[in-house]
Symmetry: C2
Subunit: 332 residues, 2 copies
Amino acid sequence: MDIIGLQTPALLVERSVLQANLDTMTQALPGARLRPHIKAHKTTALARAQAANGHRNFTCATVREMEGMARTGLGADLLLANEVLDTRRLGVLVEEGARVTVAVDSAETVVAAAEGGVKEIVVDVNIGLPRCGCPPSEAGRIADLARSRGLTVRGVMGYEGHLMMVTPESDKARMTEEAMALLLAASTDVGGDLISAGGTGTYAINTWATELQAGSYALMDTAYAALGFPFQHALSVLATVVSVSAGWAVADVGLKSLGMDHGNPTIPDAAVWFCSDEHTTFAPADGHAVRVGDRVRVLPAHIDPTVALHEAMYLVDSDEVLDRWAVDLRGW
Amino acid sequence: MDIIGLQTPALLVERSVLQANLDTMTQALPGARLRPHIKAHKTTALARAQAANGHRNFTCATVREMEGMARTGLGADLLLANEVLDTRRLGVLVEEGARVTVAVDSAETVVAAAEGGVKEIVVDVNIGLPRCGCPPSEAGRIADLARSRGLTVRGVMGYEGHLMMVTPESDKARMTEEAMALLLAASTDVGGDLISAGGTGTYAINTWATELQAGSYALMDTAYAALGFPFQHALSVLATVVSVSAGWAVADVGLKSLGMDHGNPTIPDAAVWFCSDEHTTFAPADGHAVRVGDRVRVLPAHIDPTVALHEAMYLVDSDEVLDRWAVDLRGW
């Protein structure tokens, strides 16, 4: 099928670019060195492509992602890298045979893990981003508490999310080393062999973590791509031009098909003016006039929340539709 | 059930506030004077509440919304207030007995309507917002073209969306009158008896339209509410506090459960610092400390894209859950 047969808006994933992104990351971080983060695509079919590249351990952000991964046969080693108080559904997954590890950063989350039937935890340590994670000095105490509740402590995790977009690279490397020194110190207090950290922004420089939790590298977005990583845009939103006026045109992609927290999307050879619920108003560049009915590919500024708005993504080779992948890990 | 039993994040709709909002609008614009816009909530159960208030004509933004409304028995008079090139699914609705009217603003959209089996159109006229809509001077020509293709021309629509948030009210009233003068002139050229326009922002001052397409009034958001309309926040996102640090706390509501195009959400008695995929980091105000496991209600800055991220909304009376309404009109 040609993309002209797709209802718009439609997520498109360019197969060759996706595979090149996966291969580039796998070459840098093979096997267990990478724990791909599922939140970036919410699609078990894409996770299977990551598994085919040799990665069997995955990172999730929600209980729903954990459930979907486990029940599609990708539950060999799943880390829920967020704190959760209601762990009953995770306990069910453990009973079903999945390996489930959950992040804890407080007595309450330790107790919740134990009471819900989770068996394994990592201690989430704050290494500079003001979000979840205990102070490094408290990590050992939380690990002891977890052991006292019968939990296995696999190690520590931290997320240097405040450093992902630091430039120049030399500053990012120095600041990442400082952040990881906090995590390594906590690791000594906590025990276990996992030191899980990072993301696409620090994949090449974070040599201290035993595993990296990168996700964006697979599909990429314009915010990350501006920083010069060796990953290319694999995802776009196919739109139909539904209206053309003197000086601007309107595509049928808007706030309900684009993550907007990083700002407006990009349309090649055009200037984006603004987005409405179901529309993007844009001015085509000279020589790139569009007509009603034309298809355009819109590049989201932030992939993760964009994917969460769609039921499916279409794997394409240029204009040929190869497959439909359900975005089957949405919701909570 | 108490809200403590809900998985978070969860959309909550406060029943009494919703009903008060619906009643206030119905009093101002009874019956056919209001054509409620379904895009603001994407929920047929909420549309039924609007119908119970005496409104039988509805506005939609997508083909999926049209299908869902028609097939739940609310298809007496549905206006798709957007241009669409692939009208085949609308033609099916016509065959099934729904009354379907679609906006057109070009020869291409007229031809698409006729070829897809749509019988009735309105001419969409640009009255100042650079988006869809033909120039007022071309409206008559497009109406003639539509009639030549066998379509019934019901009238005109325009959207003074650029004026919704103008202050002071006197400026908004003057500018709305100027915009509507364009639409009234086009109406004379086009014929038909519908003059459809407006939204929540101009519901009280747009006395020229025969019907208003308001949607936000039902649930409201912080952006609109700041302007002093007599509608209150009926919708919030219930979150669980999953982590507390010295100086901040983290709730499990983020970019994937909040429309972010109007900026950060609001948490009463707290300052919101930033949102991540599944988290909002906030600083509780003095005297309003939170603990891990507490529930907080997060107010989205923009309702429409927030609703599109959720599978359901829960109708509540304070902390008591009264009903679960599927957000059944998502997607396209």
